[in-house]
Each structure stands twice: as C-alpha cells, then as structure tokens.
Symmetry: D2
C-alpha cells in the first residue's frame, strides 16, 4: 500500500508519519510518497529527512520517497492526502488582512478570507483529482485542505474520484465533550450534523444511553457548552435555546463585530494576523525537525493547533481497509442523509465507513433553529464553487451577498475586487 501526501512540507506531516508507524499492524504501508512544490523544497527536505529518522527508529520497512513530481507520486497510490496551502502563509495573511480593512471578518475558512482561499484552492485540487482519474483511479482522495467542505464538494461535482473531506473539528468536539463530562472518549457517542465549520452535535449518548435532554437541563452543562462561543453571557441563552453543541467556528457567526474589533486591534498594535503567529510557530518547529537528533514528534507541535489530525486521518484509513468498518464523521455526499439539503451537496455528518466506501447515516431534517443558517451557507458554498471553476465574478459577488459575515453589497463589491487583485497570481481563471 502506497500513501501519497501532497503538501508534505507542512509541519503536520510528522504527526501523520507517527500515526502510520503506530498502526503498522492494521495498515501495512509499503511506501509513503511526499510531494510538494518548488517553493516548499526547503521544508520538504527537512520533513523527508525527519520522516526517515522516524521510520528507522521504528524498525519498520516503509519506503519514504520525496520530490516535486506529483504524477510519479500519484501513480499506484491507494490513498492521497492533500494538505496544501495555495499561496502559502503569505496568502493567508492577505485573506486575514484585507477583509479586516473592509470591516468584515478575515478568517481563513469562513467569511471573505475563506472564500478567497477556496477560489485559490479548488482549481489545484481539481487538477490533482483529474490526475488521479488517470494514474490511480481506485484511490481515495482524503482532503484536509480548507475550506474542506467546499473543496470536497467541488471534487464530487467535477470528478468521479473517490473523495472524502476530513477535518479534525468533529473529533475535537467529541473528545472535548467527553472530557467535560469527565468520561473517556469511548463513553460518548454523538449525532453530528451540518457543514464543515458550520456544524453541531445534536444528540449525545453516554455509554449507550441518550442523555441529550438530561444534559441540556443542567445549567453547568449549558455553561460549558456556551464557553465554546466565548465568554459573553448571551451564549448561555443561545445554547439553552438551541439545545445543540455548536462548533467553535459558530462564534464568528454569533459575534462578528467583536471579532472584527479584535482583529483590527491586532493589526493596529502590531501583534499581527493569525498567519503571522503561525509563521513563528512553524519556524520554531522546523528548527526542531531539522535537528539530526529529532526522531519523534516534538511536543511543540501541539501549539500549532490541529489536535487529532493524525488520529482522524489514520483511523479513517483503517476503516477504509477493513471489512467490519466503523463510524466516522466526515465530509461526504449527502445522498439524502440530511433530508432537507440537496442530494448532491457535501455535508459533514456521521458515516459508516468500510472498504466498500462511505455511506452517511440518515440524519433526518435539520432542526428549525439552524436550518435557515445551513441552507444559506450551503447556497454560498455552491456559488463559490461555480465562481472558482468558471472564474466568474458574478458568482463570487452573489456568494458574498449570501454569506451573513459579508452580506452588504457596498462592501462586497470593492472587497471582492481587492481580494482577486491581491491573489491574481493564483487565480488565472479570473483574469
């Protein structure tokens, strides 16, 4: 079995390598192909060397190959993991900065920043998908690149390749919930519905018993859940009204003005965008990775965010290799699972996964409290995909008007022009 990692120069790669080593019994990996682009050569070479030290330490017979030749890497692959960042952290900084200047949220996955990222990313991922059709048509594309739901839907719409979108948020939410309840992760099961970064836990089973109603009747549970959205007391009312556990990203939708104020402040006082902060962490990490003596994942990686990244990806691959299967929360074609969303859109929800593929569990209709919200963002996402594929400013503008984090034509129009201009290099379809 060959696993190909595209965007392998990412600081996350060692976590994947570590996970593959840990699961060597169930996943008999023969080769890991690391791929990146020329501008990532420096990082890739560090990762390659570090990975080889990890493998050597493990005593396993896994071959590490590495390079810029994506087609060679794809050939014969069983799994292709994409963790690319088109335009790198420099582009992310633009995604975070320009919207803030226009008074709307700059965030790399939601709002205007996330849209710009999607516009840059979709064409590249579609190129990869089309290469896979020719070079490894039976392989699975496991997409980690954000905004993961939109990108995955684009692949499903424009390619026949097997594709899943993966995010560490669902596992994070389930583990955090278990920890809050002072239970082990295996004690808590959840029903999970929505879209990537616009998702909720709507039912909670503790050791097999549905305790949803009991838990939401307890004020201290409400308080814990509300803190996901921030310290504001109003969050407790939101949670007690909805009786749903929101994803962390909902705080952007419930408190946009506060967030924009904070972002403006950060730009003003020189503390910089999140992209700048990540850059510092990454620099430090790569210094560690480069040391000849480093042959295990360093502690500092946890600061980078992305907890459970490796766990989510590798337990998923384990199920995709098994006959008994398992339950995972992934971005998948809806197929009627969420009954009031279109059949052919991508949703993030519980799925049964085995080697025959991925099938979402029937989730029924969305609760009234979130239905309109999800419909709106799904409409936004579909317009973004069309904008990216056609290079259409009309679709991009329509998308921005639907997104409640923008939703003002007088801002949307010049902001769109500014973002497209700033990312011109990565958006040939628009120029």
């Amino acid at each position: 079995m060959k696993i190909t990692i595209i965007g392998a120069g990412s600081s996350y790669t060692p976590e994947l390598i570590e996970g593959l080593i840990a699961r060597c019994d169930s996943l008999r990996v023969d080769e890991i192909a690391l791929v990146d682009i020329e501008s990532g050569r420096y990082k890739l070479e560090i990762i390659e060397a570090f990975s080889k030290r990890m493998i050597t330490r493990s005593g396993l017979e896994i071959r590490i190959s590495s390079g810029m030749d994506r087609k060679a890497a794809l050939t014969g692959s069983s799994y292709v993991i994409t963790q690319i960042r088109v335009g790198g952290l420099a582009a992310r900084e633009i995604d975070e900065k320009i919207p803030t200047e226009y008074g709307v949220l700059g965030q790399e996955t939601t709002g205007a920043g996330g849209m710009a990222k999607a516009l840059r990313t979709i064409p590249v991922i579609l190129d990869i998908a089309h290469e896979m059709e020719a070079l490894c048509p039976q392989a699975w594309l496991i997409n980690f690149t954000n905004p993961s739901g939109i990108v995955t839907e684009a692949v499903h719409k424009y390619s026949d390749i097997h594709c899943l979108g993966l995010c560490n948020a669902p596992m994070n939410m389930q583990r955090t919930l278990a920890a809050n309840l002072k239970l082990g992760p295996e004690d808590v099961a959840v029903k999970y519905i929505g879209l990537n970064h616009l998702s909720w836990i709507s039912r909670i089973w503790v050791r097999g018993q549905d305790l949803t109603d009991e838990l939401f009747a307890q004020q201290n549970f409400i308080d814990q859940v509300a803190s996901i959205l921030g310290d504001e007391p109003v969050n407790k009312k939101i949670v007690s009204g909805n009786k749903l556990i929101p994803s962390y990203y909902l705080k952007y939708f419930y408190h946009p003005a506060r967030q924009i104020r904070d972002d403006k402040q950060a730009l003003a006082d020189g503390s910089g965008t999140r992209a700048v902060q990540v850059e510092h962490v990454e620099k430090e990490l790569f210094e560690l990775y480069a040391l000849e003596t480093t042959d295990t994942k360093p502690e500092q990686l946890s600061k980078r965010g992305g907890a459970w990244y490796s766990e989510a990806a590798l337990s998923l691959i384990e199920s995709l290799e098994s006959t008994t299967g398992g339950m995972h929360i992934v971005n998948v074609l809806n197929q009627g699972a969420i009954s009031d969303l279109p059949t052919a859109c991508v949703v993030e929800t519980n799925c049964f996964v085995d080697r025959s593929g991925v099938r979402p569990l029937a989730a029924g209709a969305l609760p009234a409290e979130i239905s309109g919200f999800v419909h709106t963002i799904k409409g936004y996402e579909q317009l973004v995909i069309e904008a990216a594929v056609r290079g259409s400013r009309d679709h991009a503008l329509a998308a921005m008007l639907l997104n409640p984090l923008i939703a003002d034509a007088d801002i949307a129009q010049p902001l769109l022009d500014a973002l497209l201009e700033a990312h011109k290099l990565y958006l040939p379809a628009f120029f």
Copy 2:
C-alpha cells in the same frame, strides 16, 4: 354581505370605501362596520363621517356602522379586514429609532423593528381570530397588518379561521414592471415567489409569451430592475446574476450599512424617522377628511404610500365571491407550492382564488440564489411567532441571531431588552 374593518381609523380606509362603491355591482355590500380602539376615537369619527358622505354621494344603500365594540362588529361578518397598528405611530417611531441607535436597521417590517411590531401585533390578531371562530366562523380574515406574512402564519398556526395575508407589494411590482415595459397591466403576467417583503418575480410573460430570458438579456432591462435596489452600480451585477426581479425591500438586505448610515443621519439632523414623516402626512390627510365638503378620496392620500391597497383587497374579495375565480398573489399556507419550504408555513405567491377558497399554484423549488436566504428568514419568522405567543425571550433572541439584519449576539441581546422594555405596555406575555 357585511364587511368589518378593524383599525378603521387608518387613513387608508377611504380608499377601501371608494373601492367598495366602485364595485357595487359585483360586491353587493349591505353593511360596512368600522371598528377601532378608544385611543383612535377621534380619527374613527372623522372616517365614519367621511365614509357616510362618500356613500351618500354614491347613492348606494350601504349601511355604515362604527364604534369600539369589536365583537358586535364581527357578528355576522363575511369579511374582516385588519389594518391595525398596535401602539400607533409612537410605537413605530420606537421600532425605527432604537435599532438605529444599536447600529442595526430600524424598519417597520424587516429587521429588529419589524420583529418588535410582530411581537406586539400577533397577540391582538389572535384575539380577533378567536373571536371570529365564535362570532363569524365562515368569514375570511384578510390581514393587511404588517409584517403581514408572519402575522398570517401565526393565525394559521393558532386558529382554524379562513385567513389570507395581503400586501400591496405584489401588485405594485407587477404594475411597475408593466409600466417599465411600456405595456398595460393586463399585458404582463408574473410568477411570484418568496415571503412577504422578501419576494421576487421569477418569470415574466408578455401577452402570453414567456419573455424572461429575452428580457434579462437586455442591459436596459437589467438597469431598470437594478434601480429597485438603489443607485449603486453593484445592483446591476446582482440582478444580472440572479435573473430575478427583487421586491423593493431587498435593498435593506443588500445595503444594510448604507441604510443605517442614512437613518442615523436622519436622526442626527432632525428630519426624524419615517414614522414622524408619516405622522405629518396623516395629520394633513385627516384635516382634509374632516372637511364637510370632502366626499371623494383626496389626491394627497397617494403620498401616504400604499398604492393599489384598495385594488388588491377588493379584487381579492371579488374573486372570493365568484365561481369563475381569478389569480391573486397573496400570503397563503404553502401546502407544497414552494416545494423546499415547509408544508405548513405561509408564503407569498400566485394563488387561484374563488368562493371555494385560495389554492397556491405549484411553484417548484426556490432558485439556488435565493433559497438559503428565504430559508433563513422563514426560520426567523417561525421563531418570532413562538416568541410572541409564549412571551419567550429565548425564542426572540434566537430569531434575532438568524436575521441577517441583526445577526450579532452582542447587539441582539441588549437591543432585545431595550425593545421589550420600550413596548412593555403592549407585551404582557413577556413580563
């Protein structure tokens, strides 16, 4: 046949009387009962006297009764027209002023202002509906009170009375379209979809031919349609992208910041809210109405807004009396007409109306460009109804968070408290 007008002290009433006189052949009205509340006695008496002069001038045998006894007026009615304003223009001024102070739109039908109006109005209209169940169970409640769609849905949810929500916007939009095309109103037919004050014309037939595609291919047609949303050039892109004719109220959703800026300016420079302006027009109108010599509808009424108000109501009643029926655009129980909205919600769309009732035409699914939007506002509306009926601040807060014209918890929470406090007198369920 007896027609009861509740809120008859409104400046609009003479237009209704004029219409009833004009249609005396098809609608054989025996009695018009004018009802208002004590605080509206002054206006009601002027309207009563004026109405009697109009009837006298017409030579018809229609009895005008008038008073504060709503139950007496309802008894034996065939049609009950509600045009009330709970709290009067003073309450409207609060609806327009307080949200503006909190930096969100203050408008009497959409956004926070419209929500406050709905909270005040729903309990009163439900009281009327329950009285009708006892006193005139076969009568039609034709609701003109805004927000008309929400109020109508509340009646359908909590009463079995025959009920329709009426707005002059659909007729206005169709007539304006015909005028723009330099055609007579009978030359243009439209497919109309959405919710009250969140609606679109999605298909256009000219003398029987579907010219939708041809018209949206013409730049000067795009320009005319775009001007509905205001002068901003971006509106042309919106319209050419959607290929839909938006209701005038969409400008609030596409340009909220600009509108709020204008509203703040108006408060600052002393020109006052729209409520204050309406108050001036009304004062002038009632002076005219009070003159012994006034026995026809004065020209100045047209300044008040509400064109086609009487035409919409009376042509509707004409169809409700007929065996041949006719097509009207009203607020009606969906019943599957818009296939992706709930069966039991109220939508504003084309209906076939005859004496057997009102049945919406199958409209299919909403276009992708507006579907998320409509789902969101429908979700908002349903939460507002529950908030009003239960006196629930939780539901009211959830409603505000869904509405893209508010959509920030840090604003919604204090704004809600402020609005409820200001309207305390009319919101007993909340206190």
Copy 3:
C-alpha cells in the same frame, strides 16, 4: 387563429365544430384544418362536407380546409387537437380480445390493451410534436388520444412543444356529482387528483363551502358514489373507507375478475368487444353525417360516449386565449403539485390556465389509501413510454409486471409477444 384537428375523420369532430361555432365571440377562429390519413379518407370527406354545412348555417366566416397533408395543416396553427386512433377500431378490437384470451383485462386505456395502444400511439404523436417544433413552435398541442396521460408525458419528455392532455372524465365526474346533489354544475367545485383514468375527487365545495366531511357522513351519498364502481355492495365499504370519489375506471381495478368474466362471456356469445359495438354506432353516425340535410350535430352522437368532449376542449382554449384565466382539470407536468410524485411526470389535476400557460395548483401529498396505487401506475406508465420510444421488450415486460391488472410473469410474457406480433405493422421500433 387556426385550429388543426388531427384524426379529423373521427365521429367526434362535429361536436368540436359545433362548439367552435357556439363560442365564436370569444374565439375568433379564422380556419379549421381537418387532417387524417389515407385510410380515413372516406370518413374525412363526410366530416369536411358536414362541417362546411354547419359553418354555412352559422353564417360565420370560418374557413374549413381538409386533407392528408399534415405539415401543411400544422403550418401557422395556434392549436393542434389530436384525436387519432393508430390502427383504427380494428386495432382496438385486438387490444380488447387478446388480453381477454389470456385471462386479463382487455380495455382500451388501462391494462394490457391500453399499453398496446400507448405503444402504437406514442411514436405517431412524437412525430406530430417534432413537426410542430418546426412548423408552429408556439402552438398548443391538446392531446385527446388515449391513454392521454401517458401520451402527454411522452411529449413532455421528448419534445419542448406546449402540450396538454385532455380527457372528458374530470368534467363528467364533476357534472355527475353536481347532478347527484341536485345542484347546477356551477354550484360544485372539486379538488381532483391522480393520473388519467386513475383519479379521484378528494374534496367537494358546494357554493363555496367545503362539505366533504358532511357528504361522506351520509349513507345515501356513499351509495351514489359507490355505484360508480358497480352494483356490488362491497363498493360502499370501499367508498366509506376512502372518502374519495373514484373515477369510473377504478371499477376495473377493484373488480378485475368480474370484468374479465363479462368480457369472456361477450366474446363467447357473439356480442363482441366494445370496439365492435362502437363500430356499429359509428356506421350509423356517418350515414347521418353524410346526409345533405344534416347541418347540426345529431342526437345519436351522445350514444358514442364522450360527453363534454367539446365543452372540455373549447373552454380550455378559451382560457388559453384569456388574460383572466380559469380553472381546468387537465393532464399537466406535475412540477411539485402532487408532492410525493416526481416533479417531471404528468398528473391529472386542477390547473390555473390563462394565455401565459397552465400551472397546476398545489395539491399536497396523495392520501395514504391511494398513494401506493398511483405510484405503481405511474411507474408502469414511465416504463411504457420508454418501451415505446426504444422499442424495448424488456421495458414493456417490466411495465406489465408492475400493472396490477396483469402482474403475473407467466401471463405477461406470452401476452406481450402476442400483442406485439398482432400490431407489428404499427410497431416498427420493436421489429
């Protein structure tokens, strides 16, 4: 305005001519083009001469043209009425005889006979539709040819032409209901749902009041309705259980064995199939039509069946010419009107018709008692269309297995072979 009648040699044509004369004020017809095929020349010439005498008698200026040149007739038409019978009464006799021999129902619109008729008819009607696309693309095809629902769906699936399927059954059912209630036809309004020849009245308004529940609570009403299905006492239980007024054709579905027994008896005792009986009536009619002295529709035509045929067609055309429109029950694209049937299938239900076209009224989901039934027959219909278009025996067999009037593979297979062989001449796609 030019109206083209295809299959004009039918004995029904004089009824249409009479209707066109009666409505000369609303429908300003310039020309009526009569078309038939060579084998119908004798009848066509009689009809042509008779029609001219009727026009002369009326004193109107309507031109009658007549001949075999279908393309010439279609050119410039506004309405094309199809009342063809592919293979003539001889083919109908086969449709009625062969199934009876195999022990299943031989009936010209339902069951195996109706399927054979559909297989012969669909290709011819599609030829006409394709000619209309070229010669009169704005015209309406009003299809009277049975099985009207299947044929209409085939046109909608394989052509863009404006098309409606018309049947006299809905008007018959509404008039019979009114007569049973001792009311005028204008006093009774109905909600009508289902497919052509598989339809029900599901709601009844008398002078505007919904009396459905009251009527079905009366035993004598149940008895009247039950007699539609025949004299058997069980029919009263069926009707009191369903609370629906069935179409006359439902008796075939509720009493197939009895009907087959009667049909076998008729074959055995020499009284012949219904085709043979019709042939006698037709012979008598054409003798009358041919008389120089006949210039009005003769009484005997009523024996032929088809009451309200002309009324249904011409009141429909009147609405298709009007701006005010009217309500008609026709075979129309579903578009969500019956919410649990596919969007793109043809249903028979209430529609609003004006010169902008035909839009079904939202009817909601089918009642549970008939839902499975209608789904089954719709599945059958769709397979028949595919069988006809592709000349596919597999689809034809699958259709027969779905139809509860056949529904046995050991009968279906040889019966299908026998029917195709017998109609070989008219089924080139299968050979």
Copy 4:
C-alpha cells in the same frame, strides 16, 4: 445481562442457546428466561431441559429460567426476543388454506395469509411492548415474529420501547450471493433496500470494489439471480431489466397464478399446506430434543428453514453491546433513509448499530422499477396495522384491495369475512 425469549417453546430456541454459548466472551449473559403460554407447556419443558443440558456441557455459568409468567421474565431484561406464533401451526394452516380456496395466495407472511397473521400478532406484541415500558424500559425488543416489518412498525407507532425487526432473509441473501460468486461471506458487501419480504440487493461490492454493473452484464450471473424467482425463463428478463437481486418472496408477486395452482394441487392431492409439513418436521425435532442424550443442536433443525436465524440475532446483540458497532440489515424506522418513503414507517435496510442504537444508512430514493411496488405494499401494511389496532373491517378491506396478491373486491370481501371468522378467538377487537 438477562435475555428473555418469548415463544421459547419454538423449535428454533436451541439455535439461539447454541449461539449464546458460542459468543460467551463478548456477551456475558447471566440469565436466559424462557417464556411461553399454557398451550405450549409441553414443548417449553423439553426446550428448558435441553437448554440446561447445553449450558452444562459448555461449562458456563448461565442461569436458565422458564415458565408462563411473562411479567416476571421481562423484569430486568436487557433483550427481549419474540418468536411467537399466535394460534400456533393450526392458525397457520388456516392462513394457507382459506385464501387458496378463494383463489388467491395463502402464504404466511405475504398476501391474505400474512395479513391474517398480522391481525392476530399485533395486539399480542403490543401487550408485550407495553409491559416492557413498565418492567424493562431500557431493553431492546428484537422481533422475529412474522410479518416482521408490519409488527415492528406497529410497535414503533404505538409504543416508545426500543424495537428492531429481524429476519434471516437479508443474511441469507448476502451469503447465497457470496456462495454463488464462490467467495467468502466477508468478501461481499451489499446495499439492501425495501420492506421485510419485499426487498432487493441494489449494489454489490466485492472486496471493496463496486462490481454491480460488471456482474449484471454477465449472463450467468443473471441466470443465477433469476433462479431465485423460479425456473421460468421470463425471470431472466425481469432480472436483466431491473438489475436488482430480489428476495425469494418476490416469486409470489411475479408468479401468483402458478403458485396458487401449486397450492391448490397440494391441497387436492393430500400433501397438505406448508403448515402441515412444518408440523411433521417439528414433531421429529422435539422427539430428538427430548432425548436425555441430546446436548447439542441436531442436524435435522436445518430442514426447518431459518438458516442464520441465530447468527443474525446474536451478531446484532453483539453490536448493540459494543462501542465500535457494526453494520446490520434490520427492520428499522426509516427516518429519511429511503427518501421517497414516509419518515415514520419501517423499512428493511442497512443500519449502523452500536450500543447507542440503530441508525439506517442514507439509501436515497427507490429505483423506478420497484418504487411503485414498495409504495403499494407500504400502504397495505399501514392499513393492516390500523385494522389490527382498531379492529376495523374497513381498514382490513382497504388493505386487501391495495395488495396486488388479492386486489379484487369480489374476492376480498368474503375472504376477509372467512378469515376473521376462522380466527375469531384471536381477534377480539373485531368482534
């Protein structure tokens, strides 16, 4: 953990005991409670003694309790398995004989026989469900009693107890398919859709690859599948048209006349109904069970039918006890899984099962070839449930008219009366 078996005097019970012993590691059973009614005392005592010998031989510490006190047995149960036969084999004989006399299918799960069985069974199972609500509200009711889908839907409609309907047919179909493909059972995964005894495999994965299209393109595969329906050549056409693997019970629907002929023959020549044959097998089995020397399941049990009965039940319980879960094909509340069937009906389809419960996988809409069929039978099933619960002859008659295996009012009415009369003792609600 306590497992209660109701109807424990069944000849199947030893298979369950054997399975529980085999899975002693995963399922730590403390007690097995065997329950039956007075008339089954003889068999129950044999089963009790035999079960105790099996446990003794295994060396496990499982307590066997046995008796007529159902409430005592239910108290404290974790799983309740129902395998009752109301009226015993004598009633089954009536179900098979009377319909045959009326010329329609007599079969214990489909057609008129299955309906009579449902009418007798539903009240008894609802009694058990209501006792469970009080005595073991967290327990699972695993219903094996036929018609399993109808009975399970009745429980879901009239009780809140956790309930699943189980049938050995799905496992049989999957194993037979694997054997036909000369593969191990773990090599073949299937998508399974429909209702109990009206079901199909619609997709086939071999070692993770979707080979559905490839297999149905092979004539020898078609031939194998067709033989499920019997030897008639037409079955090959049915299968090649549908591209679905039918359940064995479909042969009744495709070849009813042939089956009825065979049944009549069997009655005439004295070979008796299937009930009589089963009686012989059972007699022989109980003689073996009664031997002091018998302490393992005898070979002869396989003749009884019901292969995989124990495997299906116990692997399901294993998943219901686990955190990792597994995929099972069971009768479950639809919840949108089959998108064109009602949300609240019971379907038989793939489910993910773990200790948090049972959730069906999203299956999308039914294929057109079977959709009408399934809708019809679901309509029939829902009428049967209402008939049973209300004791309503109207609903029972309507059910018979919908079922294509009866579908003639002249037969249905007297047949219904005859069946109700024959089973009077077990149908108090009807008398």
